[in-house]
């Protein structure tokens, strides 16, 4: 059976939305932990979360205050925010509905089940910390079950490849965004707790990407910016490193028809981002390098869209 361009686009986005929902859930849990531990005079705030996810501007359009509860509501439950967990799962469900006939039967049931869980339990998740924690954990578990099903039950065919590409691009995107949290939290360099706070921050960045253990195994016990940055950009054995994600995407593309243009974009991104010199990068330069990565991620997304989704 041939693959409809619209279906391919939906597969790609189902995977992106599911990945985004889980990433947001993980991010909220870990960053919450960290922010609570930061020195009180560090200029940190819940708005950091908005900046990482890139929805600060949208937030200001709808909200006048920026309390923890407001921000949590916006990130978890507000469907005016297309990146909120609720909106992501809603879109993932709607898109999977249009793909039902192409998905393993159980997969739709799981995605639908996750949506039903969220719809039923979302109340009070933004203002009750314990409920929020249980809720976000459950979203992560259920999404992991979905991943397991995709991995274990889906034919390695085009739908699988489109989902895998979406998942990996979204993952790379989140990794770059989370690294930038460093830039969003500023602390004077002569602050007595500077070193401790920075180490804590980079550790929490690793934790929110489930990469703390791997980092310690592959690098060393000590957490510092150059090593973490190198790890998150280049560590090919870590499934959330940027080059690993782009490599996964490249592997999918190799098996796909008409892949020339997209592969060209992907390889340019690999070549540019793989430069090893970010180990000595200043924070300012790191921020620029992250921006560049985001641009490449956008370019890859556009190349895939042009090649496979916009058929005239």
């Amino acid at each position: 059976m041939m693959m409809l361009a619209r279906d391919a686009e939906n597969f790609y986005w189902v995977a992106r939305y599911l990945e985004r929902a889980e990433n947001t859930a993980r991010l909220i849990i870990k960053i919450t932990d960290t922010l609570l531990d930061m020195p009180t005079d560090a200029s940190v705030g819940w708005t950091t979360l908005l900046e990482i996810i890139g929805v600060g501007h949208l937030y200001n359009k709808y909200y006048e205050t920026a309390t923890e509860n407001d921000i949590m509501h916006f990130l978890i439950a507000d469907d005016r925010n297309p990146s909120s967990i609720f909106a992501c799962i809603k879109y993932a469900r709607e898109n999977s509905r249009t793909l039902r006939e192409l998905l393993p039967e159980e997969l739709w049931e799981r995605v639908n089940g996750l949506y039903l869980y969220i719809a039923k339990n979302i109340e009070d998740t933004s203002n009750k910390r314990r409920k929020k924690y249980i809720f976000l954990q459950e979203v992560i578990y259920q999404r992991q079950a979905i991943i397991g099903l995709i991995f274990g039950a889906m034919e390695r065919n085009l739908p699988y490849h489109f989902m895998k590409m979406g998942r990996n691009l979204e993952r790379a995107d989140m990794t770059t965004r989370i690294m930038d949290v460093n830039y969003a939290i500023s602390l004077p360099e002569d602050h007595p707790l500077y070193e401790v706070a920075k180490e804590m921050l980079w550790a929490s960045i690793l934790k929110s990407l489930s990469g703390y253990q791997t980092y310690r195994r592959l690098k060393h016990f000590h957490v510092n910016m150059p090593d973490v940055v190198d790890f998150l950009f280049n560590e090919e054995h870590f499934p959330r490193s940027i080059l690993h994600c782009i490599g996964e995407l490249e592997n999918c593309l190799i098996d796909m028809p008409n892949n020339k243009n997209v592969l060209k974009t992907v390889r340019l991104a690999q070549k540019t981002l793989a430069k090893k010199d970010e180990q000595r990068m200043s924070e300012e330069k790191l921020h620029e390098h992250i921006d560049l990565s985001q641009q490449f991620i956008g370019d890859i997304n556009n190349a895939i869209t042009e090649q496979y989704f916009k058929i005239k």
């Binding site: 059976m1 409809l4 361009a5 391919a8 509905r97 249009t98 039902r100 006939e101 049931e109 028809p257």
Partner: protein
């Protein structure tokens, strides 16, 4: 679970499974004995299993309302409706006869119109038909078949006679629920399939595939078949997706298809355009081609009618088939059968009155409190009035509607349609139901084994449409006499 003696003693209708003396009919005995043997806990567990199966399978039906579209789980009753194979054989023959004649009728209307010339079908009925499409004149689709998939609604009156209530020849839905209902029963009550010899229904997708494939204009090639859906907000989207999956066909929306200047239809795939042979469309005539019909339509495909008229693509059901799906045309079906086949109709129509004729109109207007009044072109139970249940004001409003547009209305006596035991609050109570078998026609002519049984879940209600709060049951054809 027990039979409610209070409700059953008061029941005036014919009951499908329980006789007048409150005993199971022979054909229903194994089923009702089985249910009787089940204790409350066991039953509750099974009901729970049914609910979670429906929710998990995502069997939904969308209801349109002012408050936005609500996706509801499909209301399902666990007590199957049973029909004997002996009775079903004759119903099947009746349906085949009926649909053969109706397809000949549609083809005749769009070509020589002999039935009109011979004075059997009045020209004024034809000229008043909204669904007669002049763009279809002169076309004879493959096998002369226009209504390839038809859902004919059957009801039984209090004497036990089966009648045809209406023929749905446009885009009838419900078959996926028929299939899923059987799936649920198999999942939750597997024992039942041991104690009773229930005829299988799961070859429907193969039947549908063969019906569609036979229409393909490219004979020496495996046909490219697509199911054309209006999209996920359509009430029957679940079914469109289900059938596409079952047939391994592509599920397309209008924007996925394109017609080129050589009048060939293509589908947009990730590797470019691929030619389409057969479109099983679930979009109304009015919306299928903005070039010819509603120019505002975004559900259709520009140029589709050009491609179809040239024979470059098959469309099922054919555009214009709805001309025979008209409650006024319905009243002529017995004459239509006689005219084309020279046979007596095997299945009876419900006696009907046409408001377009003055004498019949007067009768209708004088007896509104006894009749059901239906508009000619609506489906889904919309726009009808059940006289005995209507208020005086509603009857007056309908009298006005009829006088203003008599061609658009017909009336029938209010049938006391049959009931079947339905589980409500732990008791078996009689609830009214109908039956929609599906008839497929292209190279071959086939009827489903049974059909979709729809049941009015509210006590005394005669309206079974899912859009009006109806539910459904599994339908069993089992060996034996009724």
């Amino acid at each position: 679970m027990k039979i409610s003696t209070t409700e059953y003693t008061a029941n005036k209708a014919y009951d499908e499974l329980i006789s007048k003396n409150l005993l199971p009919r022979d054909i229903a005995k194994p089923l009702l004995d089985y249910f009787a043997s089940m204790d409350e806990d066991e039953l509750a567990a099974r009901m729970q299993a049914v609910d979670s199966a429906i929710l998990a399978m995502g069997i939904t039906f969308t209801i349109y309302s002012d408050a936005g579209n609500i996706d509801r789980a499909w209301p399902f009753d666990i007590v199957p409706r049973i029909i004997s194979s002996k009775e079903w054989d004759s119903v099947q023959e009746g349906l085949k006869q009926r649909l053969t004649a109706m397809n000949m009728f549609i083809n005749d209307l769009y070509n020589d119109q002999n039935i009109v010339k011979d004075g059997v079908f009045p020209i004024e009925v034809l000229s008043g038909s909204k669904n007669f499409l002049k763009q279809c004149i002169g076309i004879t689709p493959p096998f002369g078949a226009w209504a390839h998939i038809c859902g004919t609604d059957l009801v039984r009156d209090d004497s036990g006679t089966m009648y045809v209530l209406e023929d749905n020849l446009r885009i009838p839905s419900g078959v996926s629920y028929m299939l899923e209902n059987r799936q649920i029963m198999k999942r939750v009550f597997p024992e039942l399939f041991k104690i009773t010899n229930i005829k299988p229904i799961d070859n429907y997708s193969a039947m549908l595939y063969n019906t569609l494939a036979a229409l393909s204009p490219r004979k020496n090639k495996s046909p490219v078949i697509v199911v054309l859906t209006p999209g996920i907000y359509n009430s029957a989207y679940f079914e469109h997706s289900y059938l596409a999956e079952q047939m391994s066909a592509n599920l397309a929306e209008g924007s996925d298809l394109v017609v080129d200047d050589k009048d060939i239809v293509y589908i947009k795939t990730i590797t470019g355009l691929v030619r389409v042979d057969v479109i099983y469309r679930r979009v109304d005539d009015e919306f299928i081609d903005p070039e010819v019909f509603n120019p505002e339509s975004v559900l259709g495909v520009k140029g589709l009618m050009r491609a179809w008229r040239k024979g470059n693509v098959a469309i099922a059901n054919a555009p214009g088939a709805g001309v025979a799906d008209d409650k006024v045309v319905y009243t002529y079906v017995p004459q239509i059968i006689k005219y084309y086949l020279d046979e007596e109709p095997i299945l009876q129509n419900v006696p009907s009155y046409l408001c377009m004729y003055e004498d019949q109109r007067e009768y209708v207007l004088n007896n509104l409190d006894k009749l059901v009044v239906k508009p000619a072109n609506e489906s889904g139970g919309y726009g009808m009035m059940i006289g005995p249940r209507a208020t005086k004001k509603e009857r007056e409003e309908f009298a006005e509607l009829i006088r203003n547009n008599p061609r658009n209305y017909m009336a029938q006596p209010t049938l006391n349609i049959s009931t079947s035991p339905t589980l409500i609050n732990g008791e078996l109570v009689p609830r009214h139901l109908d039956l929609r078998p599906f008839v497929l026609q292209s190279k071959e002519l086939q009827v489903t084994m049974g059909g979709l049984t729809r049941v009015a879940m509210r006590k005394g209600s005669l309206v079974v449409n899912s859009s009006q709060g109806g539910g459904s049951k599994d339908t069993w054809i089992v060996e034996g006499d009724h």
